[in-house]
């Protein structure tokens, strides 16, 4: 048995192999500091797939002998841990600062043509786009008169299925106020709640890799994009590609939210940082030139 199967972590050469492979498949590269995280997740993948050795599992992964191995690997190595209303100050910014500016730029709430489009990418198991929907439903005065489309996208098909099902446990829902829970969720047993059909059906979900330029071409004209806590895991080139693809998905003047520990200035100069009372967001410039 190799180290991965015996629970003692990957050998250095094994770590390098899987890091290189994962980078080539997804554009996501793990720093040496993520070694422990990667070791644990790979160990899980090897065991869960019934392999005795890392070499056997990796061989099957590379040759495509077992089609389920790659999605499981992506699922394990991408960040799916999230909860409703996480980093809520950014939703405050959306409601109080960004949407008023979006409406003003598009002719005002009574004259706007077409929907306000919001993208959550990666949306993981749906907590973020549903949090946006809840905040809008509960707190945005124009929700009954302005058409809003919320889209979620993620590289991981398994979490997208969870987003479609939209059933959440106590840990995910800990920050949801009780009256909102009562109004928009139904208990489904075992302490879990499912978000109402009307909200679930209003969310458009798609599988996409943000680094895949061709696939991202179909994302267009978003007014607001949430892309939080993912670019930080990419290497320079992949994060540049992701930034370019997000830029292409946004209207001129549209707003991009990154995670609180992320900064676009380290990635690409194509966005304009804009200081709002609630924090920094990034805008696709409105003019032809920056």
């Amino acid at each position: 048995m190799t180290s991965a199967a015996t629970g003692t972590g990957l050998a250095k050469a094994e770590f390098e192999k899987i890091r290189e492979y994962f980078y080539r498949r997804t554009g996501i590269q793990f720093a040496d500091s993520k070694r422990y995280f990667v070791d644990k997740r790979i160990e899980h993948c090897v065991r869960a797939a019934g392999f005795d050795t890392f070499a056997a599992w990796f061989g099957a992964l590379r040759t495509g002998d077992r089609p389920g191995l790659l999605p499981e690997l992506i699922s394990q190595l991408t960040v799916n841990e999230t909860y409703f209303l996480r980093e809520d100050y950014q939703f405050d910014a959306l409601l109080n600062s960004v949407l008023p500016r979006v409406l003003a730029a598009r002719g005002g709430p009574d004259r706007i043509a077409g929907p306000v489009k919001i993208l959550s990418l990666p949306c993981a198991s749906g907590e973020e786009p549903y949090s946006i929907a809840l905040r809008l439903l509960e707190e945005w005065p124009h929700i009954d008169t302005v058409d809003v489309e919320i889209h979620g996208a993620d590289i991981d098909g398994e979490v997208l299925e969870r987003a479609r099902h939209a059933s959440y446990g106590e840990r995910s829902l800990q920050r949801v106020p009780a009256p909102w829970l009562a109004r928009h969720f139904s208990p489904v047993g075992a302490g879990r709640y499912q978000i109402d059909d009307g909200i679930r059906e209003a969310l458009t979900l798609r599988q996409v890799n943000v680094c895949d330029t061709a696939a991202m071409r179909s994302f267009r004209d978003f007014d607001v994009v949430f892309c939080r806590n993912v670019l930080i895991y990419f290497d320079d080139l992949s994060s540049r590609r992701a930034a370019e693809n997000l830029y292409g998905a946004m209207r001129p003047g549209a707003y991009l939210f990154l995670g609180h520990s992320e900064s676009m200035s380290r990635i690409s100069p194509i966005f304009t940082p804009t200081r709002l009372p609630e924090g920094i967001v990034y805008q696709r410039p409105t003019g032809a030139k920056r």
Partner: protein, 188 residues
Amino acid sequence: MPEPPAVSADDLIRQLDDADPEARRVAALGLEGVAGAVEPLLDRVGAEEQPAVRDAMLTTLAGHDTDRVAAGLAVHLASEDAGLRTAAAEALAAMPVSVPALVPRLLEDPDHDVRMLCARVLADLPHPEALTWLAVMIKDDPHPNVVASAIDALLPSLGPEHAELLQRAVRRFPDDPFLRFTVEAALR
């Protein structure tokens, strides 16, 4: 959302000359991985006036990470256009395969602005020799601004073992208050 129809590489190369900047930007990104697009992109990147288009070209070029691309972008480190030379440095920093071979020449470039940008490239270049090259710049470069840039680039990796290197740099330029300040801040 339906997928837009696929466009051939030849069409995308032609689209690099479109009057619409967004069409040029989309074309540049769409040429990712197309070896035949390297020369058309290198031909245009220096003259492209729209920063967003230029950055898309640079992202696609950086993805090739070949000696030809590295050499073609390095010439822009000496550009009169500050935006272009900075953008070229950022692209080169994302090319760990081909840029290392260029570094010895960049370290000897007679233009100290180019050497300063070289420090900036090395700050972000994921390569095991990057810190060694920065140390060489701090130890040997004849221009105090280059030395200060190299110290700045080395900052995230600075350790006690660098103290003597930095103090020696101050002794080499005793009349440069900015360098002295940089070193004092770095050692604090």
